[in-house]
């Protein structure tokens, strides 16, 4: 399974989302390949992804996708991330 975490410019917040998504997956006992991407490249990065992790503000930048778009409000809340990931892929 592939998960893409996006942010506006691809240098900051997506890295945090990526590492916490990996921790949430470990907690759920699920395995997935999590990558980070900026909003401009999400179409390419998420071509074969099952899930796109995004902040509320960036959802409109994603465009058409077959992936589940999961919106994370608090990037440091592993409970929120785990719960939403489980709903999307569990």
């Amino acid at each position: 399974m592939k998960i893409v975490a996006i942010c506006g410019v691809g240098v900051g917040t997506s890295a945090i989302l990526k590492v916490n998504a990996e921790r949430a997956l470990a907690r759920l006992g699920l395995e997935a390949d999590v990558t980070a991407s900026d909003a401009a490249n999400v179409q390419v990065a998420a071509e074969d992804a099952q899930v796109i992790l995004s902040s509320p503000e960036l959802v409109s930048r994603i465009g058409k996708t077959f992936a589940d778009v999961v919106v994370i409000e608090n990037y440091f809340d592993l409970d929120e991330i785990a719960e939403k990931l489980q709903k999307a892929i569990g």
């Binding site: 942010c7 506006g8 410019v9 691809g10 240098v11 900051g12 917040t13 997506s14 890295a15 945090i16 990526k18 590492v19 916490n20 921790r23 980070a36 909003a39 902040s55 509320p56 503000e57 960036l58 930048r61 409000e73 608090n74 990037y75 440091f76 809340d77 592993l78």
Partner: protein, 150 residues
């Protein structure tokens, strides 16, 4: 490893009129420590103008940043705590009391370092402890958690 956070890049109890002022303070702190040129503050503001306040990644915390460019001189972090929290226009995480500034000279090396912030802020009390800190030593002690191995 987190990007370097020298004492000169820490501002405590600052006043900002609005989110732009708060981001500018984070940019000023990066310029003071030599991690970025003074113009970097405006780059960080532009990112928020373009993409919205997504940099407010947790209740009370903004991670201001911009792409690597001529304004980024070295990898570095800054920490600004606000005497009065300001709104960034985020749907869930306003108002912001702690602004981190992030300068990165390339987008690859950077990802591993920034992830260290998760080690600090996955502790849900860290933001309010930072906001309440009264000395740079206190801020540094809290931010030191980011150097732990994940």
């Amino acid at each position: 490893m987190l990007p370097p956070l020298p004492e000169t890049a820490i501002t405590i109890g600052a006043q900002a009129d609005d989110w732009r002022g708060a981001v500018r303070l984070a940019g000023d702190a990066l310029a003071r420590s030599g991690a970025a040129t003074p113009a970097f503050a405006e780059e960080m503001i532009r990112v928020i103008e373009e993409f919205g306040p997504y940099v407010v990644i947790a209740p009370g915390l903004a991670l201001a940043h911009a792409r690597p460019g001529p304004e980024t001189l070295a990898d570095g972090l800054s920490v600004v705590t606000l005497a009065t929290p300001v709104a960034f226009g985020h749907a869930h995480n306003d108002p912001v009391s702690v602004v981190l500034g992030l300068s990165a000279t390339n987008s690859d090396g950077h990802i591993a370092g920034v992830a260290g912030l998760a080690n600090i802020f996955n502790d849900e009390g860290a933001i309010s402890r930072l906001a309440a800190a009264t000395s740079t030593d206190e801020v540094l002690a809290i931010m030191k958690q980011g150097e732990r191995q994940s």
